[in-house]
């Protein structure tokens, strides 16, 4: 049975990554069913309840409560929604812009390539965190704007890496052959070049999802992400930081959540890179 699975599904890294990511995705989708409490329900009588394993823990609040007596577990589960929504849409959006420009630049070369290359240079002269913050100032808070800001910042990651890949692929003989057969530019790109660069694209998406989770956490930490009623991991950290002496767990738990999500995407991306990229040498694969 195992034999018939594709190579990428037999990689330990891919399996670990898929497990972690699916678990978080599951939490995000079924948040209303899974969360024991309303994430915004305040209970001012039981604030700073420690998690169940610490002294004074309460079975009603498995991971404890925060400064307003809100259930940490429920906020964590609902926070997964923001993280996953941003991860999926921001990375797909950034890929759409970055990859399309990379195919155009790498395939046509010359002046087109130079213009797109300069645009990437301009973008790269902004540290990503600073640029996303400035964009959020311009756009205003909200889930859609966070996604948009990350797309507008991170398309360059795709564009830079994919462009050099496309440059290599576009010089291959079979691409020249396709052109000689009378394929249009469009058909050559879609039928010959895109399939060859797909492994790299999939890997990059996975890594970008991890980056998007981090950027969203950073923005919500400084209060420039989703509105305050929507629970988000970065926001939980910012709240808990003020009460670091009262309840260190309130800080540790969302930190672990962010780490786990990013680790899941990174190890998935690394596993995919190793199993999908045919050009990697054997030594790197080991």
């Amino acid at each position: 049975m195992m034999r018939r699975w594709p190579a990428w599904l037999r990689s330990g890294r891919v399996l670990i990554g898929l497990t972690v990511v699916s678990a978080i995705l599951f939490c995000a989708i079924f948040a209303p069913v899974l969360a024991p409490h309303d994430p915004n329900e305040q209970n001012l009588i039981s604030t700073f309840v420690p998690p169940i394993w610490a002294k004074g823990g309460d079975v009603a609040y498995l991971l404890g409560t925060d400064s307003l007596g809100r259930d940490v577990l429920s906020r964590l589960i609902y926070g997964a929604r923001v993280a996953m929504l941003v991860a999926v849409f921001a990375s797909l959006g950034a890929m759409a812009i970055g990859a399309v420009l990379a195919y155009i630049a790498g395939y046509f070369g010359g002046r087109t390539d130079a213009v797109i290359g300069r645009a990437v240079d301009v973008w790269m002269s902004f540290p990503p965190v600073v640029l996303s913050l400035i964009l959020m100032v311009g756009l205003g808070v909200g889930l859609r704007n966070v996604v948009l800001a990350i797309i507008l910042v991170d398309w360059t990651r795709f564009c830079r890496v994919m462009r050099s890949e496309v440059l290599v692929v576009a010089r291959k003989d079979y691409v020249a052959a396709a052109r000689l057969l009378g394929f249009s530019h469009w058909r050559t790109i879609v039928r010959e070049i895109v399939p060859a660069s797909l492994p790299l694209l999939i890997t990059l998406i996975s890594l970008e999802m991890g980056i998007a989770v981090i950027v969203e956490a950073i923005l919500s930490f400084v209060g420039m992400s989703v509105s305050a009623e929507t629970p988000a991991w970065g926001q939980m950290i910012a709240d808990a930081r003020q009460y670091i002496y009262d309840s260190p767990w309130g800080l540790i738990i969302p930190i672990l959540a962010i780490f786990l999500a990013v680790f899941g995407f990174n190890i998935l991306g690394d596993g995919l890179r190793r199993t999908l990229d045919v050009r990697l040498t054997e030594t790197q694969r080991a």
Partner: protein, 338 residues
Amino acid sequence: MIATILPLIGRRLVMSVLILLIVSLLLFLVLHVLPVDPAAMSLPPTATIADIEAMRREMGLDLPLPQQYLIWLSHVIHADFGNSIHFRRSVLSLVGETLPATIELAVLSMIIAAALGIVGGLVMFHVRGSRKEPIADLGSIMLLSIPEFLWALFFILIFGVALQALPFTGRLDPQFRLPQGTGFLLFDALAAGRLDIFWSAFKHMILPCFSLGIAFSPAIMRVLRSSLIDVYQEDYIHLARLRGLSERRILIRHALKNAILPTLSLMGVQFGILFGGTLLVEVIFSYPGLGNLMVDAVRNADLPIIQAVGLAYCVVVLIINTVVDSLYLVLNPKLRVR
């Protein structure tokens, strides 16, 4: 050699100035779609509509956008960034006070990142093919998954709150006053001969610098490891081995010298990102640098500061890129022929 390198560096500089112009235009445009009125914000709440209108005219906000941009740009070229709406002080002096703090933080962090990255890369290269390799590899992916601000919070919890071993707010203990000088605190303290201030400042830098340093080291490790593996496929390594050189000598004198180049160019890119990464670390450690100024400005919609700080970040990144590129040209003879 210099004759071949200088024109390349010159071209790079011209490019940087052009990029800076475009960046300034983008910054201006993004911040002018904001739904806030700087004129109304810079007046007391008792101001009448007529006062606000007068202020708008005074600030040039009634002019068409392209003209506003040109006026702003000509002020910027004359190092006039206007006044902060919130702090009611010159933006230039605010940026001038905070920029050295951020540069100090970023440079020390980058040194730590480079040291950890190179040592880690050598260790990862050393364990290649052995049973320890998967562990080292998994370790580096885990490190890669922890961004600087999570390290910062983690370090505060362990070394600040639990062990109470290191301070985690500001740049100095409260009994000290900032010494006058360049703004580079460690340097100023030494120049003033105040070892107590130096020690206090040093202790305050440990946690923020290590947060950034550790977060940016794994990428350097992984690139160094893979470029070492590439270099070891080359004939001259086999040749060196045939000549009977020791493995240590081959690694340090032959392999590392070539493998360090891709690592160096990565470090240039990393330094630019690290410079932006200081933003959140500064906020977490209440470190009075550009990042804290920026976040305060963002919260107060203080446009003149946001524009100036955004530009300051870009200028620093462009300088770093130019220096790294030039260094790369000097170190890599293969690139000199054009």
